[in-house]
Amino acid sequence: MKKVRVSYFAILREQRGLGSEQVSTEASTAAELYEELRRIHGFTLAPGRVRVAVNDEFGPWSAAVREGDAFAFLPPVAGG
Protein backbone atom coordinates (compact mmCIF):
# COMPACT_ATOMS: atom_id res chain seq x y z
CA MET A 1 0.00 0.00 0.00
CA LYS A 2 1.17 3.49 -0.87
CA LYS A 3 -0.02 6.62 0.89
CA VAL A 4 -0.78 9.57 -1.40
CA ARG A 5 -2.52 12.92 -1.01
CA VAL A 6 -5.57 13.42 -3.24
CA SER A 7 -7.29 16.77 -3.89
CA TYR A 8 -10.67 17.25 -5.50
CA PHE A 9 -12.06 20.33 -7.18
CA ALA A 10 -15.48 21.70 -8.08
CA ILE A 11 -18.03 18.96 -8.77
CA LEU A 12 -15.61 16.22 -7.66
CA ARG A 13 -15.01 18.04 -4.35
CA GLU A 14 -18.75 18.20 -3.76
CA GLN A 15 -19.32 14.57 -4.71
CA ARG A 16 -16.51 13.47 -2.39
CA GLY A 17 -17.65 15.82 0.38
CA LEU A 18 -14.16 17.15 1.08
CA GLY A 19 -11.32 18.99 -0.65
CA SER A 20 -8.41 16.68 0.04
CA GLU A 21 -7.50 13.53 1.91
CA GLN A 22 -4.77 10.97 2.39
CA VAL A 23 -5.49 7.75 0.51
CA SER A 24 -3.87 4.32 0.84
CA THR A 25 -3.89 2.57 -2.50
CA GLU A 26 -2.54 -0.32 -4.53
CA ALA A 27 -3.14 1.60 -7.77
CA SER A 28 -0.05 1.77 -9.93
CA THR A 29 -1.09 4.64 -12.23
CA ALA A 30 -3.10 7.86 -11.89
CA ALA A 31 -5.78 6.32 -14.11
CA GLU A 32 -6.14 3.30 -11.79
CA LEU A 33 -6.29 5.61 -8.78
CA TYR A 34 -9.11 7.67 -10.33
CA GLU A 35 -11.08 4.54 -11.26
CA GLU A 36 -10.68 3.19 -7.74
CA LEU A 37 -11.89 6.44 -6.15
CA ARG A 38 -14.67 6.80 -8.71
CA ARG A 39 -16.02 3.37 -7.79
CA ILE A 40 -15.91 4.16 -4.08
CA HIS A 41 -17.39 7.64 -4.24
CA GLY A 42 -19.64 7.44 -7.30
CA PHE A 43 -18.04 10.29 -9.25
CA THR A 44 -20.21 11.05 -12.29
CA LEU A 45 -17.36 12.25 -14.52
CA ALA A 46 -15.83 9.61 -16.78
CA PRO A 47 -12.02 9.70 -16.75
CA GLY A 48 -12.08 10.94 -20.35
CA ARG A 49 -13.49 14.24 -19.08
CA VAL A 50 -11.09 14.67 -16.15
CA ARG A 51 -7.44 15.75 -16.12
CA VAL A 52 -4.95 14.79 -13.48
CA ALA A 53 -2.26 16.91 -11.84
CA VAL A 54 0.66 15.18 -10.16
CA ASN A 55 2.61 17.22 -7.62
CA ASP A 56 1.01 20.47 -8.87
CA GLU A 57 1.75 19.90 -12.57
CA PHE A 58 -0.50 18.49 -15.30
CA GLY A 59 0.40 14.85 -15.70
CA PRO A 60 -0.39 11.96 -17.98
CA TRP A 61 -2.91 9.37 -16.76
CA SER A 62 -0.07 6.86 -17.04
CA ALA A 63 1.86 8.67 -14.27
CA ALA A 64 3.11 6.22 -11.65
CA VAL A 65 1.65 6.32 -8.15
CA ARG A 66 4.51 6.67 -5.67
CA GLU A 67 4.50 7.01 -1.90
CA GLY A 68 3.97 10.66 -0.92
CA ASP A 69 2.76 11.91 -4.32
CA ALA A 70 0.02 14.54 -4.51
CA PHE A 71 -2.73 13.93 -7.06
CA ALA A 72 -5.42 16.41 -8.03
CA PHE A 73 -8.40 15.46 -10.18
CA LEU A 74 -9.56 18.33 -12.37
CA PRO A 75 -13.06 18.42 -13.89
CA PRO A 76 -13.69 20.23 -17.22
CA VAL A 77 -12.65 23.86 -16.67
CA ALA A 78 -14.90 26.91 -16.97
CA GLY A 79 -12.98 30.06 -16.08
CA GLY A 80 -13.59 33.53 -17.49
Binding site: A10, R13, A31, G48, R49, V50, A72, P76, A78, G79
Partner: protein, 161 residues
Protein backbone atom coordinates in the same frame (compact mmCIF):
# COMPACT_ATOMS: atom_id res chain seq x y z
CA UNK B 1 -3.77 36.04 -1.60
CA UNK B 2 -2.29 39.46 -2.39
CA UNK B 3 -4.56 42.43 -2.92
CA UNK B 4 -5.56 42.57 -6.60
CA UNK B 5 -4.76 46.23 -6.74
CA UNK B 6 -1.17 46.65 -5.62
CA UNK B 7 0.72 48.59 -8.25
CA UNK B 8 3.14 47.15 -10.73
CA UNK B 9 6.32 48.94 -11.74
CA UNK B 10 8.27 49.23 -14.96
CA UNK B 11 10.79 46.39 -14.89
CA UNK B 12 8.38 43.97 -13.20
CA UNK B 13 8.00 40.63 -14.95
CA UNK B 14 6.42 41.36 -18.31
CA UNK B 15 3.60 38.93 -17.64
CA UNK B 16 1.61 38.23 -14.53
CA UNK B 17 -1.43 36.06 -13.77
CA UNK B 18 -3.10 36.56 -10.41
CA UNK B 19 -5.96 34.95 -8.57
CA UNK B 20 -7.79 37.00 -5.98
CA UNK B 21 -10.71 36.62 -3.66
CA UNK B 22 -11.09 40.41 -3.47
CA UNK B 23 -12.99 42.66 -5.90
CA UNK B 24 -10.95 43.54 -8.99
CA UNK B 25 -10.22 47.26 -9.31
CA UNK B 26 -9.28 48.01 -12.93
CA UNK B 27 -8.37 51.67 -12.37
CA UNK B 28 -5.75 50.78 -9.78
CA UNK B 29 -4.38 47.92 -11.91
CA UNK B 30 -4.11 50.21 -14.95
CA UNK B 31 -1.66 52.49 -13.17
CA UNK B 32 0.86 49.67 -13.12
CA UNK B 33 0.79 49.40 -16.91
CA UNK B 34 2.06 52.91 -17.67
CA UNK B 35 4.85 52.62 -20.24
CA UNK B 36 5.85 55.28 -22.75
CA UNK B 37 6.78 52.61 -25.32
CA UNK B 38 3.13 51.50 -25.42
CA UNK B 39 1.00 53.17 -28.03
CA UNK B 40 -1.89 50.87 -27.23
CA UNK B 41 -3.48 49.35 -24.17
CA UNK B 42 -6.39 46.95 -24.67
CA UNK B 43 -8.35 45.69 -21.68
CA UNK B 44 -11.02 43.04 -21.36
CA UNK B 45 -13.43 42.78 -18.45
CA UNK B 46 -15.45 39.58 -18.04
CA UNK B 47 -18.52 40.23 -15.87
CA UNK B 48 -21.12 38.04 -14.20
CA UNK B 49 -24.15 37.92 -16.53
CA UNK B 50 -27.74 37.40 -15.44
CA UNK B 51 -28.35 34.43 -17.70
CA UNK B 52 -26.68 31.48 -19.37
CA UNK B 53 -28.18 29.13 -21.96
CA UNK B 54 -31.63 30.58 -21.38
CA UNK B 55 -31.54 30.11 -17.61
CA UNK B 56 -31.68 33.02 -15.19
CA UNK B 57 -28.46 33.31 -13.17
CA UNK B 58 -28.40 35.06 -9.79
CA UNK B 59 -24.79 34.44 -8.62
CA UNK B 60 -21.56 32.56 -9.40
CA UNK B 61 -18.85 30.80 -7.42
CA UNK B 62 -15.34 30.40 -8.83
CA UNK B 63 -12.85 27.83 -7.60
CA UNK B 64 -9.26 27.32 -8.78
CA UNK B 65 -6.34 24.96 -8.37
CA UNK B 66 -4.24 27.94 -7.37
CA UNK B 67 -0.63 26.89 -8.10
CA UNK B 68 -1.57 25.23 -11.37
CA UNK B 69 -3.89 28.06 -12.47
CA UNK B 70 -1.18 30.66 -11.90
CA UNK B 71 1.42 28.56 -13.72
CA UNK B 72 -0.87 27.79 -16.67
CA UNK B 73 -2.03 31.43 -16.76
CA UNK B 74 1.55 32.66 -16.91
CA UNK B 75 2.31 30.17 -19.68
CA UNK B 76 -0.60 31.63 -21.67
CA UNK B 77 0.63 35.18 -21.10
CA UNK B 78 4.17 34.19 -22.11
CA UNK B 79 2.76 32.62 -25.30
CA UNK B 80 0.95 35.89 -26.03
CA UNK B 81 4.20 37.83 -25.62
CA UNK B 82 5.95 35.41 -27.96
CA UNK B 83 3.25 35.41 -30.67
CA UNK B 84 2.42 39.11 -30.66
CA UNK B 85 4.52 42.21 -30.11
CA UNK B 86 3.41 42.67 -26.52
CA UNK B 87 5.13 44.90 -23.95
CA UNK B 88 3.17 43.89 -20.87
CA UNK B 89 0.28 41.56 -20.11
CA UNK B 90 -1.66 41.13 -16.89
CA UNK B 91 -4.59 38.86 -16.10
CA UNK B 92 -6.46 38.82 -12.79
CA UNK B 93 -9.14 36.19 -12.10
CA UNK B 94 -11.57 36.13 -9.17
CA UNK B 95 -12.24 33.20 -6.88
CA UNK B 96 -15.06 32.88 -4.37
CA UNK B 97 -18.65 34.12 -4.53
CA UNK B 98 -19.56 36.79 -7.09
CA UNK B 99 -22.73 38.81 -7.60
CA UNK B 100 -24.30 39.86 -10.91
CA UNK B 101 -22.21 42.56 -12.57
CA UNK B 102 -19.03 41.74 -10.63
CA UNK B 103 -15.80 41.58 -12.63
CA UNK B 104 -14.82 37.89 -12.86
CA UNK B 105 -11.70 38.32 -14.98
CA UNK B 106 -9.69 41.36 -16.07
CA UNK B 107 -6.99 41.41 -18.73
CA UNK B 108 -4.76 44.23 -19.92
CA UNK B 109 -2.24 44.13 -22.73
CA UNK B 110 0.09 46.93 -23.76
CA UNK B 111 1.90 47.01 -27.07
CA UNK B 112 3.49 49.54 -29.40
CA UNK B 113 0.53 49.21 -31.80
CA UNK B 114 -3.17 48.45 -31.43
CA UNK B 115 -3.30 45.35 -33.65
CA UNK B 116 -1.00 43.34 -31.42
CA UNK B 117 -2.74 44.54 -28.26
CA UNK B 118 -6.22 43.54 -29.53
CA UNK B 119 -5.08 40.15 -30.83
CA UNK B 120 -3.09 39.29 -27.72
CA UNK B 121 -5.97 40.24 -25.41
CA UNK B 122 -8.38 38.02 -27.37
CA UNK B 123 -5.84 35.18 -27.34
CA UNK B 124 -5.37 35.42 -23.58
CA UNK B 125 -9.08 35.29 -22.66
CA UNK B 126 -9.80 32.45 -25.10
CA UNK B 127 -6.86 30.35 -23.86
CA UNK B 128 -7.53 31.12 -20.19
CA UNK B 129 -11.14 29.93 -20.52
CA UNK B 130 -10.02 26.75 -22.26
CA UNK B 131 -6.93 25.87 -20.20
CA UNK B 132 -6.74 27.43 -16.74
CA UNK B 133 -7.88 25.06 -13.97
CA UNK B 134 -10.69 27.33 -12.79
CA UNK B 135 -14.30 26.22 -12.27
CA UNK B 136 -17.57 28.09 -12.22
CA UNK B 137 -20.71 27.14 -10.34
CA UNK B 138 -23.86 28.90 -11.46
CA UNK B 139 -26.71 29.62 -9.05
CA UNK B 140 -29.97 29.91 -11.00
CA UNK B 141 -33.03 31.97 -10.25
CA UNK B 142 -35.09 28.80 -9.70
CA UNK B 143 -32.79 27.86 -6.78
CA UNK B 144 -30.85 25.11 -8.58
CA UNK B 145 -27.06 25.12 -9.13
CA UNK B 146 -24.70 23.60 -11.67
CA UNK B 147 -20.95 23.33 -12.28
CA UNK B 148 -20.55 24.65 -15.82
CA UNK B 149 -19.26 22.03 -18.34
CA UNK B 150 -19.52 19.26 -15.75
CA UNK B 151 -22.79 17.61 -16.79
CA UNK B 152 -22.51 13.84 -16.95
CA UNK B 153 -22.54 13.85 -20.73
CA UNK B 154 -20.24 16.15 -22.62
CA UNK B 155 -17.28 16.36 -24.94
CA UNK B 156 -14.36 14.10 -24.09
CA UNK B 157 -11.00 15.64 -23.26
CA UNK B 158 -7.82 13.66 -23.83
CA UNK B 159 -8.05 10.93 -21.22
CA UNK B 160 -6.37 7.68 -20.37
CA UNK B 161 -4.93 5.54 -23.11
Amino acid sequence: MPSPSFPRWPGDDPVEFRLTEHPIEPAALMRGLADTRAGACVTFEGRVRDQNDGRGVRALDYEAHAPLAVREGERILAEAVERFQVIDALCVHRTGSLALGDVAVWIAVTAAHRGAAFEACRFIIDEAKARAPIWKKEHYSDGSTEWVNCATRGPESPGPG
